[in-house]
């Protein structure tokens, strides 16, 4: 994977030292909270309900084993022994003290990690396919381009005070594991008929209180022009985006109000004015980045592992794990191993320090020391020999992370909600736990099949409820927690926004209602249909009837 160079290291060390000075000036009273707040937010330090929360960037979701061990150390030394992986493929520590924050940033900088651009109206961490460099489906390695975006966007002076925050996703496979169409910019790598590498550029997707799917403004942008074209989009947004109303400041509102075609014309006009050669990544630099991602010594192996097949025959739980959590790798004899952080009963996305250390050790022993974070709040060991999958499974079992439920009903996305978040209206985690408990039996979960349930504790939609097959939004109804259900959303390649099922439900009715929805699906489904497919075929009516039958 990519290694930070001397410039990156110097930036991180400088930034940590600068923040140490800012904290000491705040503590001495030299800086007021109004002056300090934007400074701490620029370093990912939020104030939540119970404590400060530090959001650490995991650039395009890629971690080394050493970095994961450092996160474990921070969890142990400065937090309560755990961290929370987010839908932005970052990690949040929930119990941070301001006085410790400078030491934490120093510690992160030592391993090339930081909290820069994890808050504020700037270009945030890029989302990339967690299977990057491992799946045979990909046109090109999205990490190469994500790293280019990281270098270009880090502390970019022109794009540090945008109208609102800005999120970019890069995907390169037919199957979209990045939710590209609900990002401000979704980039899909493709090849033109003559073989030229390029991007389909989608703009104006987003969730929050006014969700939109991104619209294509360019079918094929030659890949070498990525940075100048992104500059043109950001410049257009910076110039035309609204700053008078925070709820209308995202690029999605601008694209919707101008129309994608008109917005695209503005971008093209801006792009025509730019000196591309000055902005675009030089071929030499691109080659240097690419080389860092192409350095893994894969072995020549048989495509089938008799050892794994024998182990699966002897252990049904391993067979289930392989069925649900292991995906095909581009290199024969290897697999992509998903680690579910959705053990029913536990908090979605939480990982304790001992688990982090153990996963880092597994990555070192069996996976070239690489770990990925997914937007579904799970982890991935992208390169594991099929011969080693049984050993990895055993190692995960020891730390309680061998749940075989990727994309099943118990693999629920949930934001921290009102248990932690100062913005939340309702809790998300207990709802997720109540639903997961009903699908904790793996046979039941597998029988239901792919079902993506996503829960947000407020309209900001960190829990991606708009694109859940079943989406759940927490609302405050006169001081009580209520939950609005939506059906038929998808953040994948078949992206769509969910439809509201009906009036919001009280907390204790949510999990039973999900059961009722699943029962309707099981009754109505045609062979091979997922929940989403059945919903799209039969529509809202039978589902609505099941959930609201008592009320009628």
């Amino acid at each position: 994977m990519y290694r930070y160079d001397a410039i990156d290291a110097a930036i991180l060390a400088d930034r940590a030292a600068e923040f140490r000075d800012q904290v000491s000036r705040r503590l001495s009273g030299e800086l007021s909270e109004d002056q300090f707040k934007p400074l701490r937010l620029m370093n990912g330090l939020y104030l939540q309900l119970h404590a400060y929360m530090l959001r650490v960037a995991i650039p395009y979701g890629t971690l080394s084993a050493d970095q994961l061990r450092r996160l474990a150390l921070i969890a142990r030394r400065f937090d309560k022994g755990f961290g929370h992986f987010t839908t932005r493929t970052n990690i949040q520590f929930n119990w941070i003290k301001l006085k410790d924050a400078p030491d934490i940033l120093d510690s992160l900088a030592e391993v090339g990690l930081h909290a820069i651009q994890t808050s504020g109206n700037c270009i945030r961490n890029t989302t990339a396919d967690p299977y990057a460099g491992a799946t045979a489906e990909e046109i090109d390695d999205p990490r190469v381009w994500s790293e280019a975006i990281r270098q270009w966007s880090t502390l970019h002076p022109e794009f540090t005070y945008l109208p609102r925050k800005f999120k970019i996703a890069v995907t390169a496979a037919a199957k979209d594991r990045t939710a590209a169409k609900v990002h401000d910019i979704g980039l899909k790598l493709r090849r033109s008929r003559d073989g030229e590498l390029g991007f389909e550029v989608m703009v104006g997707g987003g969730m929050g209180r006014t969700p939109y799917l991104g619209q294509t403004i360019r079918e094929h942008l030659p890949a070498r022009h990525l940075l100048s074209y992104l500059t043109a989009i950001l410049r257009t947004y910076n110039r035309l985006g609204r700053r008078d109303n925070i709820y209308k400041a995202r690029i999605k509102i601008l694209v919707a109000s101008l129309g994608a075609e008109a917005f695209g014309r503005e971008v093209e006009a801006e792009w025509a004015e730019l000196d591309h050669a000055r902005i675009d990544l030089p071929d030499l630099e691109l080659a240097r980045i690419r080389a860092d991602f192409n350095d893994l010594p894969f072995e020549a192996l048989a495509p089938v592992s008799p050892a794994l097949n024998a182990a699966k025959a002897a252990d049904p739980s391993l067979a289930r794990f392989v069925r649900n959590n292991v995906a095909a790798h581009k290199v024969a004899g290897y697999g992509i191993v998903n680690i579910s952080l959705k053990t029913p009963g536990d908090v979605p996305g939480d990982c304790n320090a001992d688990q982090m250390d153990a996963i880092a050790a597994l990555a070192d022993a069996y996976g070239f020391g690489e770990i990925r974070v997914t937007h579904a709040q799970n982890l991935v060991l992208p390169h594991v020999k099929l011969d080693d999958v049984a050993a990895v499974h055993a190692g995960l079992k020891e730390i309680g992370l061998a749940t075989a439920n990727i994309d099943l009903a118990s693999d629920i996305i949930a934001c921290p909600g009102l248990d932690f978040c100062a913005l939340a209206n309702a809790r998300a985690i207990p709802i997720a736990q109540a639903i997961a408990a009903r699908f904790a039996d793996p046979v039941t979960a597998e029988a239901v099949g792919e079902l993506k349930i996503k829960i947000s504790g407020c309209i900001n939609a960190c829990g991606h409820h708009h694109v859940g097959h079943i989406g759940i939004l927490g609302v405050d109804k006169k001081g009580e927690e209520f939950y609005q259900l939506t059906l038929g959303g998808s953040g994948a390649e078949d992206a769509s926004l969910g439809d509201v099922l009906g009036p919001a439900l009280s907390a204790d009715r949510v999990a039973p209602s999900v059961d009722q929805l699943v029962d309707v699906y099981l009754r109505e489904r045609s062979p091979g249909e997922r929940f989403l497919d059945t919903y799209r075929r039969v529509g809202l009516t039978p589902f609505k009837a099941a959930v609201y039958a008592e009320a009628v």
Binding site: L47, L49, A51, L98, K99, D419, Q433, G479, E480, A507
Partner: protein, 122 residues
């Protein structure tokens, strides 16, 4: 009877704190209770001047249950207890009569319909 207390987060640690006699305490049970608007305004004014001690002091409604103060809104109950998902964390980990009262009466839906069980503990 509805009363009011002043709460904030401490600057250094981020912990939830409550106003009492010119300073800050950790437990809601020890917080100074106001039922006089003028006294509250004066205390809030003083509290807001303590800018290197706390961040953004504000007043919250409480009700008295069994002699103990319980926040009216569930958001403030969660602040006064800790996350309902991790009972070993936050103020609830310390325990005591004040915490027990909030936990026991966490369900009292005093703000709206009176429906019980708003905060169901694990």
């Amino acid at each position: 009877m509805t009363q009011v207390v002043i709460t904030a987060n401490s600057l250094l640690e981020g912990d939830v704190v409550f106003w009492a006699a010119g300073g800050w305490v950790e437990a809601l049970a020890d917080a100074e209770r106001f039922d006089d608007g003028r006294a509250l305004d004066a205390a809030l004014e003083t509290a807001k001047r303590q800018v290197v001690a706390v961040i953004d002091p504000y007043a919250i409604d409480i009700v008295i249950e069994g002699g103990q103060p319980v926040p009216a809104s569930y958001r403030e109950r969660i602040r006064a207890l800790g996350p309902s998902t991790h009972l070993e964390h936050g103020k609830q980990a310390v325990g005591g009569a004040g915490v027990e009262a909030i936990a026991a009466h966490a369900g009292a839906g005093v703000r709206s319909s009176g429906r019980l069980g708003l905060i169901r503990r694990k």
